[in-house]
């Protein structure tokens, strides 16, 4: 049952990506192209995606987190880190360059697989390789020294 629910949630997420236009790299790149504001080609849609998503999540999280526990789990797993380390800037900077090169962030890239394009497959394979590499490097003794707790995935 929990598995089926998570499939349905992924489906809603994916439908949101498609309806919002996030699944089209051209729209994303036209948003990131701030020089397009003067040229008249700027597409501000992505700001509306973010606004809609954050508004619903902000209200929804405050309600849900008042519950004693999640429906299918024993507790809420919320990120606890508050320290500002070099990686919270370096990681997003690297990700942002990849995002700007192609126009895919991880969610839309996965949803693009269902559009059936070979380009999406190439991107997702490379993306997964990058993810595995980052986790591997993060758990090496030389880099865990700087990171406590050692979980590289914690938001």
């Amino acid at each position: 049952m929990a598995i089926l629910v998570q499939f349905a949630i992924g489906l809603i997420f994916g439908l949101g990506l498609i309806i919002s236009g996030m699944s089209d790299p051209a729209k994303v790149l036209n948003f990131l192209d701030v020089a397009g504001i003067q040229a008249g080609t700027w597409d501000a849609s992505l700001a509306f995606v973010m606004a809609g998503a954050v508004a619903v999540t902000f209200v929804g999280f405050s309600r849900v987190l008042k519950l004693p526990r999640p429906f299918f789990a024993d507790r809420f797993y919320l990120p606890t880190r508050r320290d500002i380390d070099p990686r919270i800037v370096a990681g997003p900077a690297i990700f942002g360059v990849g995002w700007g090169l192609v126009g895919f962030c991880p969610g839309p890239a996965l949803t693009a697989l269902g559009f059936g394009s070979l380009s999406a497959v190439i991107f997702v394979v490379a993306m997964c390789a990058g993810m595995v590499l980052a986790r591997f490097i993060a758990q090496l003794p030389s880099s865990t020294r700087y990171v406590t707790p050692a979980d590289p995935l914690e938001t």
């Binding site: 508004a55 429906f71 809420f76």
Partner: protein
Amino acid sequence: MVTTSFTPIASLAGGAMIGLAAVLLMWATGRIAGVSGIAARLFPPYEDRELAGRLAFVAGLIVAPVLVRLVTGDLPAQTIAAGPALLIVGGLLTGFGSVWGSGCTSGHGVCGLSRLSVRSLIATITFMAAGMATVFVMRHWS
């Protein structure tokens, strides 16, 4: 360069659905709907027993366009201008950077900002700025 039309209503509605999914995942599993974290944990090392749920979530993401095509008989435009080399470099950077920085557009940009996380705010400003700088260089520095 392909011009795209401004779609405030559809984008706001689609964004709200993404938010709804994030809220539902928190309600159901108690976890952040961060796609980079979910995707990265599909691969070893496995630190918990949530693999099946993560696979199901990603399957939902992939099935969404298939469902849209079944119901409407069509799919919205998707223009991927990048060639194979750029796709590989962009994919590697996107995957590496999102894990190295503990999240992507969904984990930091949607869930993190909604939790008023300072780390997520810094991350979101950084990847937005890096994305804008990259597009500027690629499109206007030639």
